[in-house]
């Protein structure tokens, strides 16, 4: 049974229909003993029925440590938001083992419920080609960043 109400599904379906890039939500899990991993997977499974431009990929934190390191993930549940460019998006879904999608450098640690669900939807739309909401001045400032920056934003579900 879907978690989202029909009206919310309709709203998301309409927003996702504008996406020009395919977005992959790379979900890091560790199936044993993690109830929040199961709940997170349930939340993520809401998206693909609403759009073929949203794909869920799954990786096991323990069995795929190199992949976890590549995306800076050391705990579960975690989500890395990845995407394909417009050209790749028009092709069939790449087979596993093909070149990995592009990295948006957007991550979620913990279950994306409540307000974080809204943030996840926004992240999907951003990586999906919606375009930045930042001002031109902010984008100019960000273009000058020449050293790695890691930001952690602590939130709660409500």
């Amino acid at each position: 049974m879907p978690l989202l109400a029909p009206a919310d599904q309709d709203r998301l379906r309409a927003e996702f229909s504008l996406m020009t890039r395919r977005v992959h939500l790379l979900f890091f899990t560790q199936a044993l003993g993690s109830e929040t991993c199961l709940l997170t997977r349930q939340i993520l499974d809401e998206f693909p029925p609403l759009s073929d431009r949203v794909v869920i990929d799954e990786a096991n934190l323990v069995l795929e440590p190199d992949r976890a390191r590549q995306y800076g993930v050391d705990r579960v549940p975690a989500i890395a938001v990845l995407y394909e460019d417009e050209t790749a998006t028009l092709q069939p879904l790449p087979a596993s083992g093909a070149a990995p999608p592009l990295d948006s450098r957007i991550r979620f640690l913990g279950m994306p419920a409540g307000y974080e669900f809204v943030s996840l939807v926004q992240a999907i739309l951003l990586a999906g080609g919606r375009g930045s909401q930042l001002s031109a001045a902010s984008l100019e400032r960000l273009a000058l960043v020449d050293k790695p920056v890691v930001m952690q934003v602590f939130t709660t579900p409500t």
Binding site: G110, P112, Q133, L134, P148, V149, V153, T155, T156
Partner: protein, 62 residues
């Protein structure tokens, strides 16, 4: 959270994590999170609460 994610998407140098504080009390303790949102940049810059876009970016990037 969306602002930090927007920053990450705009700059290949920036990675932004949304961290669910109640799920990871060890991280909340390590970064002394007593209220949300709290943003920690490169382990040492702390931004409490929400700020307008320009102020947030300026504080985050020092």
């Amino acid at each position: 959270m969306t602002l930090a994610h927007e920053m990450a998407f705009a700059s290949p140098q920036i990675t932004a994590y949304a961290v669910e504080a109640t799920e990871y009390p060890d991280l909340a303790r390590r970064y002394r999170v007593t209220g949300v949102p709290k943003t920690v940049v490169n382990e040492h810059i702390e931004i409490l609460g929400g700020l307008p876009e320009d102020a947030f970016i300026e504080q985050a990037l020092g």
